[in-house]
C-alpha cells in the first residue's frame, strides 16, 4: 500500500515540474488541506470571490502548457474560454437545472472538438509560430465581433438569447441532484468544486508533463526538427496538446459562466486575450506552479485596481509585461523559485561542511 502511494508520487515528479522533495510534498498537502478547510471559516462573499479568482488559473494553465511546455504561442485560449461559457449557457438554459453537469460536459466536449479543427488547420498546415500567434488572435477578435452582432430576438437558441454585446444573462449555476437533495454550486460549494478541480488538474498536468508525453512536448518546444528526425510526428504532439489545453480553458470558461450567471463577448476581446499571456509570462512560462501562483496573484491585483477605478489596471499589466520581457525573461515567480532553491542548496552544503563526518573537506 505504502509503496503504491510512493509510486504514485514518483510518477508526479520529474524535471518538468518544480519541487520533488518530501518537504515540497508535505507543504503541498498542507496547502491543499488549507484550501479545502478555508470555506468552513471564511465569509461567504470572500470565499466566493476567491473561488472566482481561482477560475482564471485554468485559463493560465491552458496557455502555460501550450506556450511554456510545447512552444505554441496562442492568443486563442481566451476564445475557447469564452465560447465554452456560451455553450454552457445555451445548453443549461434549455435543460432542467438538475442536468446542468451535462451542459458543462457539452461545453468542454464541443470546445475540444473546435480546438481539434483549429489545431488541425494550424499544425498540419505547418505555419510558423509567429503566424500561429496572429492567427489565433484573429480568431479571438473575430469571435468577439460576430457575437457582438447577435443582439435581437432573432438570435436565440431554444430559449437562450445570445444578447449581442450585452451578453447572455440568466445562466444557471452548476448543480448535482434535484429537489431537496440538490447541491447547487454557489459560494462555498463552488469554492470546494473549483479547488478540487484545480488540484486534480494540477496533479494531472504534473503526471502528464513528467510522462513520456511530457518529454515529447518539451522536445517539440526545444527543437521541432530534431524531434521529427527522431521519428515523432510533432504535428500530432502539437495537436493533442492543443486539444488538452482547449479542454482546460473550456473547463475554466464553464466555471466562469456558472459563477457569473452571465457571459459577454468582451470575455473574448483584446484585453481578455492579453491577460492570460501576461499571467504566464510574468509567472514563468515553463512552470505550472509559477503560473498558478501568478495567475491568482495578478487577478487579485487586477480586482484591487478595478475597485480603485480601473483606468490604471491595464497600464500596470502592460508595464509588468514589458519589465518581465526585458528584465526577467524566465518569469518573476520562477526567478524567485530559483533563488530560493539556490539558497536551500547553499544551506545544505554549509550544513554538510560543518558535519564532523566530512570534517569540512567538501
Amino acid at each position: 500500500m505504502r509503496s503504491k502511494f510512493f509510486d504514485f508520487i514518483t510518477a508526479l515528479n520529474g524535471p518538468q515540474t518544480v519541487g520533488s522533495s518530501p518537504l515540497y510534498w508535505r507543504s503541498f498537502a498542507i496547502v491543499c488541506a488549507l484550501l479545502l478547510l478555508y470555506p468552513i471559516i471564511g465569509e461567504d462573499y470572500a470565499v466566493s470571490n476567491n473561488g472566482f479568482l481561482m477560475v482564471w488559473v485554468f485559463l493560465g494553465l491552458s496557455v502555460c502548457i501550450l506556450w511554456g511546455y510545447t512552444g505554441i504561442f496562442s492568443f486563442g485560449q481566451t476564445a475557447f474560454f469564452g465560447l465554452a461559457g456560451y455553450v454552457y449557457g445555451v445548453v443549461s438554459i434549455n435543460i432542467p437545472p438538475e442536468y446542468s453537469m451535462l451542459a458543462a460536459v457539452c461545453g468542454i466536449a464541443l470546445i475540444m472538438l473546435l480546438s481539434a479543427i483549429v489545431g488541425y488547420v494550424i499544425f498540419y498546415g505547418g505555419i510558423s509560430s509567429l503566424y500561429i500567434a496572429i492567427f489565433t488572435l484573429m480568431l479571438t477578435l473575430l469571435a468577439e465581433t460576430l457575437l457582438s452582432r447577435t443582439s435581437g430576438p432573432q438570435f436565440r437558441i431554444g430559449s437562450a438569447l445570445l444578447g449581442g454585446s450585452n451578453g447572455m444573462v440568466g445562466i444557471p449555476p452548476l448543480q448535482i441532484g434535484s429537489g431537496d437533495f440538490a447541491i447547487v454550486f454557489v459560494d462555498k460549494p463552488f469554492f470546494w468544486l473549483v479547488a478540487a478541480l484545480l488540484i486534480l488538474v494540477f496533479l494531472g498536468l504534473r503526471f502528464l508533463l513528467n510522462s513520456n508525453w511530457g518529454y515529447l512536448m518539451v522536445a517539440t518546444r526545444e527543437d521541432p526538427l530534431r524531434t521529427q528526425l527522431f521519428g515523432y510526428d510533432i504535428r500530432r504532439i502539437q495537436l493533442m496538446t492543443y486539444i488538452i489545453a482547449g479542454g482546460i480553458a473550456a473547463l475554466g470558461g464553464v466555471l466562469f459562466a456558472s459563477w457569473n450567471n452571465f457571459i459577454a463577448p468582451s470575455s473574448m476581446g483584446m484585453t481578455a486575450a492579453t491577460l492570460p499571456i501576461i499571467w504566464v509570462a510574468a509567472g514563468g512560462r515553463a512552470s505550472i506552479q509559477a503560473v498558478t501562483i501568478s495567475t491568482f496573484t495578478l487577478q487579485w491585483i487586477n480586482q484591487q485596481l478595478a475597485y480603485g477605478g480601473g483606468e490604471y489596471s491595464l497600464m500596470f499589466f502592460a508595464i509588468l509585461l514589458l519589465c518581465t520581457v526585458m528584465l526577467f525573461p524566465q518569469g518573476i515567480v520562477t526567478t524567485i523559485e530559483m533563488a530560493l532553491e539556490e539558497y536551500l542548496e547553499r544551506r545544505r552544503v554549509a550544513r554538510l561542511e560543518k558535519s564532523p563526518l566530512l570534517g569540512g573537506r567538501l
Partner: protein, 287 residues
C-alpha cells in the same frame, strides 16, 4: 455595378495601407510588430490635434503625423526592440506591451472621444448612390505607397542592402552592411507608414485611443495570406481579400465579408502556408 467596384476599391486601399508598414517590418526583420495598431492610432490622433487645435491644413497634418509616428518608432527601436532581435517571441510580447502602454497613455491623457475633422473633397453620385472623392484619393495614396516601396527596394542602395540582409543576414553583415542602422530605418519606415495610414483615415472614422484595433486583425489577415515579401504580399493578398470582402459585403453585409476572409485565411494556412509569397516563388521557380 459601380457600387461593387467602389466597395472593392475602398477595401483594397484600406488593406494595402493598413498592412504595408507591418509587412515591411515582418519581411525585413522577421518581427511581427504588435505595436502597429498604436502607431496607426498615433497618426490619427496627431492629425486630429494638428487640424483642430493648431488649425493646420489636413494635407500638411497628414505627413507631419506620419513623421511623428516614425520618430516614436525609431525611439522605441533604439531603446527596447533592438535588445530583443534574438528572441522573436519576446519581441512580439514587448511590442504588444508597448501597444497597450501607448493606447492607455493616450486614453488617460485625452479620454475616449476626439473631435471629428471634416472630410476633404466632396462627394459625387452615380445613379442614385453617393460616393466620396476622398475614397478615390485614398486609393491613389495606396497605389503611391506600393510604387514608392517598390522603387525604394528595387533602386536604392538601402533597398539593395535590405534585400541582401533578407536573404542572408550574416553574409550581408560580413560584407560590410550596417544591419543595425538598416533595422532602425526599417522599423521607423514601418512605423511611419502605420502613422500615415492612421492620418489618412482620421477624417473618415471616429478617432479614439482604440482607433488602431479595427485595422489590426485585417492587417494580420493580409500578412498571413500575403506572406513574407513586403511588396508581393500586401499587393496580391489585398487584391484577393479586397475582392472577397468587398464582394460579399456588397452582396450581403460585412459579417459575411468577415467570415469569407476567415475561410480564405484558413484555406491559405492549410494549403499555402507561405501565402502569396510562396505561390510567387513556386511560379518563378517553374519558369
Amino acid at each position: 455595378m459601380f457600387g461593387l467596384f467602389y466597395q472593392i476599391l475602398a477595401t483594397f486601399s484600406f488593406l494595402v495601407l493598413s498592412t504595408t508598414g507591418l509587412a515591411i517590418i515582418f519581411g525585413v526583420m522577421n518581427i511581427i510588430n504588435f505595436a502597429h495598431a498604436s502607431f496607426i492610432m498615433l497618426g490619427a490622433v496627431v492629425t486630429v490635434y494638428l487640424v483642430s487645435a493648431a488649425n493646420l491644413s489636413v494635407f500638411l497634418a497628414i505627413p507631419l503625423a506620419a513623421l511623428i509616428a516614425a520618430a516614436v518608432g525609431a525611439f522605441l527601436e533604439m531603446t527596447l526592440i533592438r535588445r530583443l532581435y534574438n528572441r522573436k517571441l519576446d519581441c512580439l510580447l514587448a511590442t504588444w506591451a508597448i501597444n497597450i502602454i501607448i493606447v492607455q497613455a493616450v486614453f488617460l491623457w485625452l479620454g475616449t472621444s476626439q473631435p471629428g475633422i471634416d472630410q476633404p473633397f466632396g462627394s459625387f453620385t452615380v445613379g442614385d448612390a453617393a460616393y466620396n472623392y476622398y475614397e478615390l484619393f485614398l486609393f491613389g495614396c495606396a497605389a503611391l505607397v506600393l510604387v514608392a516601396v517598390f522603387l525604394l527596394f528595387r533602386f536604392t542602395r538601402f533597398g539593395l542592402n535590405v534585400r541582401a540582409a533578407m536573404q542572408n543576414r550574416d553574409m550581408a553583415e560580413g560584407l560590410g552592411t550596417n544591419t543595425t542602422a538598416m533595422y532602425l530605418k526599417t522599423f521607423a519606415l514601418g512605423a511611419g507608414l502605420a502613422g500615415l495610414t492612421g492620418a489618412l483615415y482620421a477624417p473618415l472614422m471616429p478617432v479614439s485611443p482604440y482607433f488602431g484595433d479595427r485595422f489590426l486583425w485585417r492587417a494580420f489577415t493580409v500578412l498571413i495570406v500575403g506572406g513574407a515579401d513586403p511588396l508581393i504580399g500586401p499587393l496580391m493578398s489585398s487584391v484577393a481579400l479586397g475582392s472577397v470582402y468587398g464582394g460579399l459585403t456588397w452582396l450581403w453585409d460585412s459579417v459575411a465579408g468577415s467570415i469569407g476572409i476567415l475561410l480564405i485565411t484558413m484555406i491559405f494556412i492549410r494549403v499555402l502556408p507561405q501565402g502569396f509569397t510562396g505561390l510567387w516563388d513556386i511560379l518563378r521557380a517553374k519558369k
